[in-house]
């Protein structure tokens, strides 16, 4: 029987000689170029960086947003609660390995069995992979049935999101009993994570839908440059930043007082698949685009401001006394009275051509984390859905809400506070 070790980092090290030419070739970069390059989202070398898997909160929430996303939701077949615990133990073990840059089941392999890891992420390094797991409303109660005797533990904040103005939701892009958010700076690493967790769930849960995000549209750390969404505008300038501990505590993490106890230190994930009608947007004048968003396209400054981080002055008037930042502009309505904040963590997507319209099916896969969607996402999106000038160019085609439990210590598993 043949035995060998699969260790992505060892492989890299062992094969180091082959890379020498590349190091010499890149040695000519000037400091300026390196500095410039750091502004682009895809160019810093994070391949060997890991994000700690264990901790009081799940990784992938306040973690500085990685470049790529593979998001998936699952429907449970008819496992017992004990089988779900088993699945979560297996997922935790696999996720911890992958996030450390190791293959699943690292150690002894044999030729007679399927490889415990599908292999396509070897040589790619951990690439800052994070894997975040959540429980949807239907995990607790489906078609009126308390599936696992856990209905009493369903958090009041884990609502069925009400119909919102402008929704055009498709069931096949919405909902799910469980979700997995895999983010990494390498798309193959993110793909590999979802694929392998799906494989490990065989017989217990099946994919409901999945979404690949090819470029981040949010900044979740002060060290990150603001990316542009597919409207060509900078997105995430005013997002919550991980460094603002008080804001994060106030708006992102559920507390023990919020209840239930098992969600203390967790967060609620709202996902919305937002189709952008880019062909209509692209025909719009620069003036209209800027009036719609409320910011300048080139530098991201609020209209009337001079740089991206200029304060958003909603009282500013033009020479005729009209609001500089239009009343229905996206930034004005998103800001409101500044009492509602979300941690946004979205990605651009394209799923090829829409066969009905002949247009690119592309847009923003919006992900937000919050302490309570009843007081954050829902009122915010209600306001935006009613009045936002942007609605002319977007349609929400998918929606889902998940309760992401707190983080783990070594030896614990995803959702243990709920399932134990």
């Amino acid at each position: 029987m043949k035995r060998f070790h699969l260790n992505r980092r060892d492989l890299l090290r062992g094969a180091g000689v082959a890379g020498t030419g590349a190091v010499l070739a890149t040695g000519g970069y000037t400091l300026l170029q390196q500095r410039d390059a750091a502004l682009s989202s895809s160019v810093r070398d994070h391949s060997q960086e890991t994000v700690p898997f264990y901790g009081p909160h799940q990784a992938g929430i306040t973690t500085p947003a990685q470049d790529h996303l593979h998001f998936a939701t699952f429907d449970l077949l008819s496992p017992t609660l004990s089988e779900i615990r088993g699945l979560m133990r297996i997922w935790t073990s696999a996720a911890a390995s992958m996030c450390a840059g190791k293959s699943i089941g690292e150690g002894e392999f044999n030729l007679q069995s399927p490889p415990p890891d599908t292999g396509e992420a070897m040589e790619h390094g951990p690439s800052r992979l994070t894997i975040t797991v959540g429980f949807g409303p239907t995990f607790f109660v489906k078609e009126g049935r308390d599936r696992f005797g856990l209905a009493k533990n369903r958090p009041p904040a884990l609502i069925d999101i009400p119909a919102l103005p402008g929704d055009a939701l498709k069931p096949e892009q919405s909902g799910g009993d469980l979700c997995v958010q895999a983010c990494a700076d390498n798309p193959q690493v993110a793909f590999h994570a979802v694929r392998n967790l799906t494989r490990l769930a065989r017989g217990l849960a099946v994919l409901r839908w999945s979404q690949l995000g090819f470029s981040r549209t949010a900044t979740t750390s002060k060290g990150q440059a603001t990316p542009r969404n597919l409207m060509g505008f900078k997105d995430g300038t005013a997002n919550i930043k991980a460094e603002d501990a008080n804001v994060v505590r106030q708006f992102v993490w559920a507390s023990d007082a919020d209840g239930p106890h098992w969600m203390a230190g967790g967060s609620y994930l709202v996902a919305r698949r937002i189709r952008i009608h880019i062909e209509s947007w692209d025909r719009d004048s620069l003036l209209d685009q800027e009036q719609t968003i409320g910011r300048h396209k080139l530098n991201g400054a609020p209209i009337g401001g001079h740089d991206e981080f200029a304060p958003l002055d909603l009282n500013a008037k033009d020479k005729d006394g009209n609001p500089l930042i239009p009343l229905q502009s996206h930034v004005r309505l998103a800001r409101g009275d500044d009492t509602i904040k979300l941690l946004r963590r979205g990605y651009s997507f394209t799923d090829g051509m829409d066969r009905v319209t002949g247009e690119l099916d592309a847009g923003l896969f919006f992900i937000s984390y919050q302490r309570d969607p009843r007081t954050q996402f829902v009122p915010l999106q209600t306001r935006l859905g009613r009045e936002d000038a942007l609605n002319e160019y977007i349609t929400h085609t998918g929606s889902a809400l998940f309760a992401c439990p707190p983080g783990m210590n070594e030896g614990e598993y995803f959702g243990q506070s709920l399932l134990q």
Copy 2:
């Protein structure tokens, strides 16, 4: 009227200060780590590198394969030949700008018009973008009609690919009058290229289908490490490398003697969307997987060999006198008598979940370049389609063939040798 310049590189330079922290943060990398990192496909900083747009051949063929793909095909509406020339001039000008890391229409913008560039690639650098254009069989003759009086110029090699063993082609993922292959080390840059060329074609051509490739599966230069496809195997070990000038001349570029004259220096692009049934594959034993491919999974060595680049010894026998590399293994059939070679340039893809099977719709978007598909792709795929053990795990769901004309000098345009 507000006027400003959109220059991606100037923007990067001007905003350099913000990146300083990142440079310092990465300064701690050891040489070993840098060397390791160079083996991973996504980690070298190519954001500021450009691939020359002009030259005797189109870029994107022998160019060292970039990390990301956005491929699209277009159906022409009913333009005149003169309008097609105009479109190709506009595409050429836009492509040259984008490949240089500049926005389209760089220069003066005004608020009253739609921006000449959609903007989402700003700050990302050129990222080694290449844009390669081809003409499909239906460009010349569609439904029996010589559309532009160019039927006589249709190359004999630009065949209608015959039905091949194991095909399960979908019309909506096949064919097209024109194609655009955009490759870059940043997915937003590749997306942006196709989106903007689509926009510029409005009224003359419409998208037929498009495909995003998230990770390269081929090595086209000796300086590149071999990536893994979604089967977890190294892919492209024996591919044609750009440095092998004689092989490239013999197998990639059409010559004047091949005819027609306008294709001299061009190449024929065969695209195949190959769905991998990864759930079946993942259940297969390591032994079966290796016997199916004919290589070892971990290090990519031919069965019986010790490293990836060990010669493929098709005569080697095991102790019982049976072929070490099975008769129906993929590498044996792909190698054949070693008289057929292709330049492969494929990418991994996933398009979410297949609603019918509940499995991930994922696989290999195979792209190959060759001098004549009649003597290269077609006989090779006929052999593979009949006998390849891999067929149990894959289905070809899309197919297309395009004649990619030679490259251009400044002032010329895509396909000028055909259209002028």
